[in-house]
Symmetry: C2
Subunit: 367 residues, 2 copies
DNA sequence: TTGTAAGCGTTATCAG
DNA sequence: CTGATAACGCTTACAA
């Protein structure tokens, strides 16, 4: 195991002081061209890579960005990570994953944030669906810690990126109403998340607009996952005929898949017997049968945008005592648009249902 | 912004030396009960959290595990991460993600490994589908860096976890043969990955066993993603009738979704007109229409196993000069079993196709 | 433009 | 069982 090179070795080999090497490393302008080149040559020659722990300790900063995510079972999370990764890989920063595994057994969710907080491991934090942590995040941000929240934030007290879940859900529900449905059910996401409530709110708003009296039997709890869609659908299908819905709007596509399964089990045909609209536009939604009408949520772009928001906060001069929060400068909060992707499951007539699913939506797919 | 507490502050507050505080922090046995409790009390009181950068620097170790992943577009990756996260969150280690974004534009893939290598940022590495890096990983491991590879490794030169892709593919193909098919096509994964070749090999072995002459027209290139499945299927469907396959085995479920789309576009019914088997058992596969017969790959467990393999290498005494590699101790290489999940797409008669998809397979799903 | 020297917050060695 | 003190590898005033 070869002895590790340190900055001192390089300095000696290049015949300069370690200070000079450090200057070269940090791309300071005040180094003579020739000196710089000589140092760079020695560095390359020996494959020297500075120790980030030491650098961070000395400079009082870090090159790590923490990402706090809830359940990995939600397909939107990997997409968000991809969005972040696509940007961060072009910087000096690395991404550290903190997933509080969603299992009920997890004792103390706030521990995670404390870990991030106290420890100066990370220079900044991106938190996905952080409703649990809103208070902590706000406090952190006020203390000057760079923080960006993804979805699930309402007030503009920390920078965030999200979609307008209310209007997306409203649009989906309106679409069903426009198709003639009046008995429309909604299977919700987990109560802990704002997004769940927002989607339910959008649903209810659309009903109100159309003067449809909400029926409590048609609003079901759920958890974003397929089984909750299946269970909810079962429950709805077992309602007395006149109370049964003619359409279901689920809080996620995953739940819609569960509805699809339940419908098949009951010998029902979508959309003939029951119309269906999801939310998210996960990749498989174009391939399920029938192809799923859904509200597209630009997850990749959300990740992308979040890290773009965070980066400037990280790079700002640490001596600069001007806080992150300044009375005149508003906190950056970006709302990305959703879009209704109409396929076959809602019963609308579409020429070529699958044509709405384009490789362009998924940058990594080959054309 | 409150001044950060350091170990010295705690020492002063507790009326002990910083050495003692350090001992308490590291759970050394040689501290008096009372002293320990006093120190712990002060720590808790002030919410002190040690600085990992400093600790790492001083001790010459790190609490970071690097994970190198290729494309996030493959659904198996998040599952693997989940498996890792479920274990690592119970340790002192954190997970750092290095995704070499699969885009063709990525200039230098080996840079990523160098980054991991030279930098002593991470204490160990888990590399997924690391065929690109096999040589580098081997060298690293030989130099004493804890490394575990996931899938895509053949020789036992670094510890790895994988499934037996060959036998999985063979089993899938045999199943189709058993159903009476003789013209069976295979749409491959990317040529860069060993898994792609292994699956093709298993496919070919099954054909040979059954004395079916392989037809080069029925072996198509692909890239694991839906569009390559769709394109491959198109190509197959456009073959002259007598050359056309009656069954398709795709290297991934994703590709199978593409085949499903192409079949529908061509007015063909699966499995009546064309039988279909995938590989991976992604969650949506139970919900596509018809439900997809596939080879289940235990991705969660692979991640889980990989980190379990890595952890002991990390925790081993750094002074212990006994290398990771010892002539008498074999390198741990674990092969996990695949299993054929028979649903409807292959044309086998199944009572309740969906019953094979159990919440138990996906630990995070509610029962 | 370059070098000297003092930290950064922790662990490790070695006395007591 | 406890406490000085010297590292760890790098950055950064401050000098030259």
């Amino acid at each position: 195991m070869p002895k590790k090179f340190t900055i001192v070795d390089i300095a000696r080999l290049a015949g300069v002081s370690r200070t000079t090497v450090s200057r070269v490393l940090n791309e300071r302008p005040d180094v003579d061209r020739e000196t710089r080149e000589k140092v760079l040559r020695v560095i390359a020659e020996h494959g020297y890579v500075p120790n980030p722990a030491a650098a961070g300790l000395a400079a009082g900063r870090s090159r790590l960005v923490g990402m706090v995510v809830p359940s990995f079972t939600w397909p939107i999370i990997p997409e968000i990570i991809r969005g972040i990764a696509s940007v961060i890989s072009r910087t000096d920063y690395e991404l550290v994953l903190y997933s509080f595994n969603d299992e009920k057994t997890t004792p103390d969710r706030s521990d995670i944030i404390n870990k991030l907080l106290g420890t100066q491991l990370t220079a900044g934090i991106i938190a996905v669906f952080p409703s649990y942590f809103t208070e902590q995040l706000t406090r952190l941000y006020q203390q000057g810690v760079p923080v960006v929240a993804i979805d699930d934030q309402q007030e503009q007290r920390v920078p965030w990126v999200r979609v307008d879940n209310i209007s997306g859900a409203r649009q989906a529900t309106r679409h069903l109403i426009g198709l003639g449905h009046t008995r429309i059910a909604h299977i919700m996401g987990p109560v802990e998340y704002l997004a769940s409530h927002d989607r339910a709110t959008g649903y209810q708003q659309a009903l109100q607009e159309a003067s449809i009296t909400p029926d409590a039997d048609l609003l079901l709890p759920g958890d974003f996952l397929p089984t909750s869609g299946r269970d909810g659908a079962e429950q709805l299908f077992n309602l007395p005929p006149e109370q049964r819905p003619t359409a279901i709007f689920t809080a996620t596509d995953q739940q819609a898949y569960g509805v699809l399964a339940a419908a098949e089990a009951h010998g029902m045909t979508v959309p003939r017997d029951i119309a269906l609209v999801g939310f998210d536009d996960d990749a498989p939604s174009a391939f399920v049968h029938p192809p799923l009408t859904t509200v597209r949520q630009p997850a990749f772009e959300m990740g992308h945008t979040a890290i773009e928001l965070l980066l400037p906060m990280l790079d700002r001069d640490p001596d600069d005592d001007s806080a992150l929060i300044q009375p005149d400068v508003p906190i950056p909060c970006i709302q990305l648009p959703t879009s209704l992707i109409v396929r076959a499951s809602c019963g609308a007539v579409v020429n070529e249902a699958r044509s709405t699913w384009q490789p362009a939506d998924y940058p990594h797919f080959e054309a």
